[in-house]
Amino acid sequence: MTEAHKVKITYCADCGYEPQTLDLAKALMLEFGSRLSCIELIPWEGGTFDVSVDGELIHSMTRDGGFGESRAITDAVRARLSA
């Protein structure tokens, strides 16, 4: 049975992080297609830009700084999918 993997991107809507959020969502869609069961976009506040896979935080603007490199994030998602 195929395992369902969910990615969540929580972004600060007050900060105008929509372009970076959509860029990352697009990169994930093109890279993983139906291997992801869902890509959830969560508008939030407070300068947030967090990316998690199946509940595991793989990038956080607060923790790691910045939006993160798209390649590094897709690699982290791939690693999580392969685990």
């Binding site: 969540k8 929580t10 900060c15 959830e40 969560i42 506040e45 967090d50 935080l57």
Partner: protein, 199 residues
């Protein structure tokens, strides 16, 4: 980068800025209506010996711009003593680099006050520290009162959707409840800078 008359005149007036906004104009104008200026504050601005020029860095997607630029807009309109010119942050990085928050963050809005000869009187960035403090305290209280919200430092995507929506409602309420205090603090800090021209 130096601000001179030529550069200043290239900025947008407050009304022209509103005209070019692609989003949040309704929120900005609603906040403009909510600004409650005291007679004393208004008198202090009206008593300025000459018009003070204010260079602003802003973008229409920024929550702090939507909250605080209207305060400056109302002070300018009601006092007649502030000549405001607004520059879009992402098209004017040379100005932004000079007014980085803590020397590293491109926080907006930025308000820079100049005298007639474009000598800087002072500048103001993002929001008053007192407002950040009060909101952080309220936020802490919310999490303490609602264990279901988890830790304030935990990623919100781990909350169930219904819990997350309730948390968001509480945080929006904090913004709303502290708006009057925040506007008063913005006025107090801007007054302190602008009135240096009279000293």
């Amino acid at each position: 980068m130096t601000i001179d008359r030529t550069r200043f005149d290239k900025g947008l007036t407050y009304d022209a800025y509103k005209e070019q906004m692609t989003r949040n104009r309704d929120r900005l104008e609603a906040n403009e209506q909510r600004v409650d200026l005291s007679k004393e504050d208004l008198a202090a601005f009206r008593a300025l010996p000459r018009t003070v020029k204010v260079v602003v860095l802003a973008e229409d997607w920024c929550g702090d711009v939507i909250a605080n630029l209207p305060v400056l807009g109302r002070l300018a309109k009601d006092s007649g003593k502030l000549d405001v010119r607004i520059f879009l942050r992402d098209q004017n990085d040379d100005i932004m680099q000079r007014y980085l928050n803590k020397g590293q963050f491109k926080s907006i809005p930025v308000f820079v006050f100049f005298d007639d000869n474009f000598r800087e009187l002072g500048h103001w960035i993002e929001r008053p520290a007192s407002v950040t403090e009060v909101r952080a305290k309220r936020r802490k209280e919310i999490f303490a009162a609602h264990p279901e919200f988890g830790s304030p430092d935990a990623p919100v995507d781990q909350l169930a959707e219904d819990v997350r929506v309730r948390l968001q409602g509480e945080l929006v309420k904090v913004q709303h409840d502290t708006m009057k205090f925040a506007n008063a603090e913005v006025v107090r800090e801007l007054r302190e800078i602008a009135t240096r021209v009279a000293a």
